[in-house]
Amino acid sequence: MKGIPTTLLQVRLIQLRREAQTLGWIHKLLFLVLLLVFMAVSHNVSQKAPACWAVPGALWVSAVMAQLFRPDKDFVFLHIRKPAQEIFLEYAAFSLPFILPILFSPNWYCFPVYFIGLWPISFLRKSFPSQARFVFLGRLFPPTAFEWISGFRQASPVFVIGYLTAIAFCWVKALPLFLLWLLNLLFVSFYQECEPLNLLRAFADTPEELLRKKLLLHGKILLWLNVPVLALQAVFHPVIGLAGIIFLLLQLITLAFTIFLKYATYRPNMVVKSNTLLISLSQMGVIFPFLLPLPLVMCFRYYKRAKLNLIHFLPA
């Protein structure tokens, strides 16, 4: 490995190991199953052109987004040797499980084309300057929805592009649902940061009150964002209407689980990135039927834990 720039890969490996330690064997097994399912889907999709471009395309767009918004970009370019190569290897390693099955399909040429396309992304140094974008959000949402206001501003380009695409392609069957699912994945990432103690105490006096208030307020925002797209989709494809309602219910359950998980592991001022794996897993329950009961079970489990944990921090 001498000479190959693997510093970032090693860091990611350490992070992954640390996150994996927080998971039980059932969760680990589920992840393995999911990974295999994704690989199978990728292999299946790649059999015919032009659908074979879907997976490389989605991975390429994800890499662009990651590169544009990654917070450690300046640090990497300033302090790490061969930064572009490091970043390229990092993206290549993470996309490999999904892109590799394409190599064993009739449209194998997508595989090298993807990596050729990935190369220039790793040289992108452009960052978006922090400005008070979407100032109206502070008036649109109550101040207590601070996770959403902050999260929307942070991820506004991705959200705007994703949401407008979902509305623009409402006539395409199931596509808006998939885009909404991706956006909801983004929304649940807003819950990684634990607010400081004074903020927590400003919101409620008891654990039950806090969880109820959060659930109602954030659930409303989620509905407010999802319903217009789902309604438009139902106009064009009435059959999808029922699926939309189930989708919405599952999203609400996942949101509830995300909130409960955050407060079950809440420590003032901490960033709980280790929750990401569990949240992603519960989000998979929305698209993979065999995982359907998972968010619901985890919801009940973590509600109790959240209440027990919050007792230490709330005034009552």
Binding site: S130, A132, V135, S150, L197, N198, H312
Partner: protein, 228 residues
């Protein structure tokens, strides 16, 4: 009066607060000093019950002290960086009816419509302070409130503390720098190895530096002569 009896707190096997006993008179400003690791922040965390103490009692005016009665400014202030200062402050319910945000905005020169991400350390400290002041509490705890503040803001904070005291609030504050405490406190308490070993009244403040640092200074000078 805040009365603390036999307070104990340990992290694992390591005792942090040991049989800590002290009373803080109501309506006074109390300074807490001690070396790094003496237990100042742990003491505040135990008092606000961020970390529940292992044993002991904390009473305020004869009753068990409730967390909701304390306004707490922590050493390190954490923010959601993509909120503006004004949005951050709006989260807190205003229970202090006298709190005048526009007046503070001018006084502390805070760009409240900018994202917190663009604030300096001192600005973040001031913003966190405003959030605490917005709430009317009988007790205020300020952990290292002077960190990162410029000279003018330092003086403003001293005056804020004095004004709070005039309104009958009980204030506990810590600082690594002695001077601001000498200007603002009625009593200064020395925390050593997890318990309070000495309290100084205002007329004795002149002795603090002498008592605390004289022997240390000789020791440090000797060490430096060998090291440098």
């Amino acid at each position: 009066m805040i009365e603390i009896h036999n307070l104990n707190l340990a992290f694992g096997r390591k005792p942090v607060l040991q049989n800590l006993n002290i009373s803080f008179e109501k309506g006074k400003v109390h300074g807490i000093i001690g070396l790094n690791g003496a237990g100042k922040s742990s003491f505040f965390n135990a008092l606000t019950q961020v970390i529940p103490p292992d044993s002991g009692s904390i009473r305020f005016n004869g009753n068990a002290l409730k967390r909701g009665r304390i306004g707490y400014l922590e050493t390190n202030n954490f923010f959601f960086f993509h909120l503006t200062g004004r949005e951050y402050l709006h989260i807190f319910e205003q229970t202090n009816t006298a709190f005048d945000l526009p007046a503070f905005e001018k006084l502390l020169l805070l760009p409240l419509d900018d994202l917190v991400e663009n604030y300096s350390t001192g600005m973040k400290k001031k913003l966190a302070l405003l959030a605490v002041l917005k709430q009317d509490k009988p007790i205020y705890i300020f952990d290292e409130p002077f960190n990162g503040l410029d000279l003018e803001s330092n003086r403003t904070l001293e005056l804020i503390i004095q004004t709070l005291q005039e309104k009958g609030k009980t204030i506990l504050l810590s600082s690594h720098v002695l001077e601001p405490l000498l200007h603002t406190c009625n009593q200064i308490h020395l925390l050593q190895n997890g318990s309070f070993v000495k309290s100084y009244e205002q007329p004795d403040f002149g002795r603090i530096r002498e008592e605390l640092f004289q022997h240390l200074e000789v020791e440090i000078r000797n060490q430096l002569q060998q090291a440098l």
